[in-house]
């Protein structure tokens, strides 16, 4: 896979060469820059549960990658493996070509993890000052405050901050060492729309400055807004990977909405149905060829109402890829990615 052009990074560890480029210039997709984070065939089980199975992953300098998936998909485990916070059961994790637990790697990394509580009796300045002291080239405090949107709150105790401000302090702790690579595990969890938007802007600013970012989220909009590349995870496997547009294209299809009395089982047996989502009488079907589906649907339930056919957004793509794969449906138009992912998953299970 990757060529390890990172020996230099190991030798004079600590400082990235901003010359590695990517400052400003577009960085569409991989293929450029040094590999900054890498999982090689990594697996991690907790007891009998395989959180991550034989995962290959690569993140290059300047890239923003979103790990997207439902709860339990293995997103957080992937981040922790990459950061060396847990040991993999098999395979290897590397940051900048070296073991992630090494200080030379850690000084180039900042992280925003899911923390349920931060010590509340320290001020913002004390928190940030302490974390900044761990790094050889920290940002100056005013710079951190500005980048995190915390101006004027330096002397405030953490316990006296609002939810959005607290999350921004965690962001400040992540960036205060001016890291080359930022890990953001569910950065906007529990934030209101406004705070989320403002956090996105701050993350985007890191990206514009040439930083690499790996974020996990189950918010599709977030991945779409921030990421150059999306990796869809489900139960520890990669389901699909590509730019937000590619992810959508891969599951070219339509969403058919209607009100019907048909049961879930009956709906799944209709031709071309890949996923079913229902809310009482209101049903959403995802299908590659909506025309055939609509014909069959009307035949099965002449009384249906409110028929509507829409283009599929990332939300639908996600739904189709992660949950309901209807095995029937004549395999219409399924040269697409999710069957490959499906077969890969099966292969993984055999190997395990």
């Amino acid at each position: 896979m990757s060529t390890k052009g990172t020996e230099g990074g190991e030798a004079n560890a600590g400082r990235r060469a901003p010359a590695n480029g990517l400052q400003g210039s577009g960085r569409q997709g991989s293929g450029r820059g040094e590999v900054v984070a890498e999982l090689e065939w990594a697996s991690k089980s907790f007891g009998k549960v395989a959180a991550v199975s034989e995962l290959d992953f690569e993140l290059r300098a300047g890239e923003v990658v979103a790990l997207l998936g439902p709860n339990g998909a293995g997103k957080t485990t992937t981040v922790r493996l990459l950061m060396g916070l847990i040991r993999s059961s098999a395979g290897a994790a590397r940051l900048f070509g070296i073991d992630p637990v090494r200080t030379e790697a850690r000084v180039r990394v900042g992280a925003m993890l899911q923390v349920s509580k931060v010590p509340e009796t320290l001020t913002v300045r004390e928190h940030v000052g302490l974390f900044a002291s761990y790094y050889p080239h920290p940002l100056a405090l005013p710079e951190v405050m500005a980048a995190a949107g915390l101006d004027g709150l330096e002397g405030r105790l953490f316990g006296k901050l609002s939810g959005g401000q607290r999350q921004r302090v965690l962001f400040a702790l992540a960036i205060c060492g001016d890291p080359d690579l930022l890990f953001l595990d569910e950065p906007s969890a529990g934030l209101d729309v406004e705070s989320r938007r403002s956090l996105w802007e701050r993350i985007a600013a890191r990206k514009r400055a040439g930083g690499s970012v790996l974020l996990t989220t189950h918010n599709l909009e977030e991945a779409d807004f921030l990421a150059d590349r999306i990796v869809l995870l489900d139960r520890g496997h990669v389901l699909a990977e590509g730019s937000p547009d590619e992810i959508k294209a891969r599951v070219a299809g339509r969403t058919v909405r209607c009100r019907t009395s048909l049961s879930g089982g009956e709906l799944e047996r209709l031709p071309g149905v890949r996923a079913v989502r229902r809310d009482g009488e209101l049903v959403e079907l995802f299908a590659a060829e909506p025309e055939r589906l609509v014909v069959a649907l009307l035949a099965a339930d002449p009384a249906l109402s409110g028929l509507e056919v829409r283009g599929a957004g990332l939300e639908e793509a996600f739904l189709a890829l992660t949950c309901g794969l209807a095995p029937a449906g004549g395999g219409a138009g399924t040269g697409t990615k999710e069957t490959m992912a499906g077969s890969r998953q099966a292969g993984g299970k055999e190997a395990a």
């Binding site: 847990i86 990394v109 923390v115 931060v118 320290l122 004390e126 761990y134 050889p136 710079e143």
Partner: protein, 274 residues
Amino acid sequence: MSALATTTDTGTSRMVAAAPRRSLARIYWLEARAEALKAMRLPAFVLPLFFFPIMFYLLFGVAMRYGALGGVSVAEYMLATYGAFGVMNAALFGFGIGVAGERGQGWLLLKRATPMPPLALFVGKLAMSLLFSAAVIAVLFALGLGPGHVRAPATTLAELAAVLVAGALPFAAMGLALGYWAGPNSAPVLCNLLSLPMAFASGLWIPYPMLPSFLRQIAHGLPAYHYAQLALGVIGAGNREPAAWGVLYLVGFTAVMLALARLGYLRDEGRTYG
């Protein structure tokens, strides 16, 4: 992005900007300072820590100062035992509840994700425990020398204070082990369940000679007993056991606790957090 403070004149930026590269000494200092500030601003931690030893010492030690125990005044005897009680609690609760809480909330994981030197956290917390121990001892000594009418050579008092404060080490290790094995909610309960009976059976509340005989037998197996005896030995009021034996016991106890803490830490590395 990396503009290293061109703004060093702006005061506020001085703290972060003045360090061109990381200095271990500075990290340890900031860590210790943060731990101390954190605890100091937490009344639920500070108040009981001072209140109980002081109240007990006033009620029993100072009030009965003219009595004699083990060849010294009650006030002097209890300066050693309630001093030991105060230090033990400062170290055990400071470490136990602190580590368990921060670990359970994911805070320690976030710290581990930084390039923080692994020992900085423990050095910081230990410094905090020693500081609080010294503060408790200082207050008790003030009470003892003032209203308690304790009269002893300055060297003896200094030695007593030193032994008492050093006693924070084994109980800090015990708190660390507890912090890595107990959950954030059970840690305070466990700390109390361990410390209160142990303090009682070791003669920290009621002097050892007045304990029922079965407790006196149990006492010899408890770290708090050996700790108190070392302190009492300084003022010549102990059970005349060789100090070396007490020290050896406590060093061994500390080593076992540190090993347990390490096991708990390794266990954390292999598991998920919620």
